[in-house]
Symmetry: C2
Subunit: 225 residues, 2 copies
Amino acid sequence: MEEKEISQAVIGRLPRYLRYLGELKDEGIERVSSQELSDIMQTTASQIRQDLNTFGGFGQQGYGYNVGYLYDEIRKILGLDREHRLIIVGAGHLGQALVNYTNFERRGFIFRGIFDCDPGICEKTIRGIEVRPMEQMADFIRENDIDIAVLAIPKNSAVEVAKKLADCGIKGIWNFAHVDLPVPEHIQVENVHLSDSLMKLSYNISSSQEESRTSGKVDGNGQNR
Amino acid sequence: MEEKEISQAVIGRLPRYLRYLGELKDEGIERVSSQELSDIMQTTASQIRQDLNTFGGFGQQGYGYNVGYLYDEIRKILGLDREHRLIIVGAGHLGQALVNYTNFERRGFIFRGIFDCDPGICEKTIRGIEVRPMEQMADFIRENDIDIAVLAIPKNSAVEVAKKLADCGIKGIWNFAHVDLPVPEHIQVENVHLSDSLMKLSYNISSSQEESRTSGKVDGNGQNR
DNA sequence: AAATTCTTGTCAATCAATTGACACAACCCG
DNA sequence: CGGGTTGTGTCAATTGATTGACAAGAATTT
């Protein structure tokens, strides 16, 4: 009933919690306190408790959190307790690399189809999945109950394809094209703008070098406070 | 002289400004006001002015911003006015896809070398760049004045390789491995955690569906139920 | 079984980011 | 060349996110 909008800042941290909890689980550790977890993850105990409490009380006073239970709860929150069916649009290098990355499947993200506008690539097969022509995409999405489309195509055709995807009722788009997609609000877009990320790195490198120059800082494993 | 730490939130928006300014430039538009730009970019004029002013006054009252000038200034801020030399570590599907993505080169990020621990892949060539064994990496970095290492290897070996990279004086790591890298502070790390990104998408899909269910909202063009 | 320790959930305080408001500089039109 | 208009740079207000503090519940020890 209560509509308390949950911030993307919190959501963005959940996968990281999940990762560390998974590691603890693998090590056979059954319980963990927010303090211990924050030490491992280099964050504050307060933030962990605050974040988790956004979704309800998963811990127990005097005990901490049960690793397995918390892990499962976060999985559920993230919607990883069910299967997601994906298609890849764009069978170029990146599209192929994503199909070949099997870890997504382990998390329940199943690649069902691959589409490309180049007829030359079609009828090829990537990891057992046939590459189909774009014309078949709309029907395929509807017939196979596809959740998510991965957009791995050049920017100039991305907007057009996104519109088409929106029309056949896709729920989310994982966008690797270097444009912002103007889609209706009920469709979720998650952007992976690789060049933006690389530019951020470039900035941070440049600015850290400037800093050490102006302050006469030494680099290396050497230490100047 | 003045050390006013610039927030990553601002840095993160600069590449997007650059992208839109580039488009305006291509359209032959010479001047733009913060208001116009914010309309196009779906943000607030205030934020644009605030962001730009972090780095100094690029605009002129009564006129706005000169597109070409602002574009160049942001490029400089991001450190894109000089060449960056990169190596790829890991010649798997992802590593290959990144090498084949020529847009990075257009921005001044030049791939100089590729390294892999699998001797079978070595001596192969990707886009004219020879794949070398890991043993040669340290020397190669020093001899070719490499800035940035792209880490496209499985998580279990990533930390170890990152340490090695740190030792040979790399300045930044573009990390595609699904781990946090414990490197010295003077080395910049930019993480691209693809599965985290996909999980966020999964969350947003799940939560938007819940919302429309509980509030009886209709979807998109359409009508659900 | 009581006392002590531990650690959550939560509220308050601080810190950071975004938005709004406006003085004033530069432009443009007549 | 002067008056009206535009639009920046900046400061203040607001909103949001993170951190700190602590009461109270549960576990563990004696």
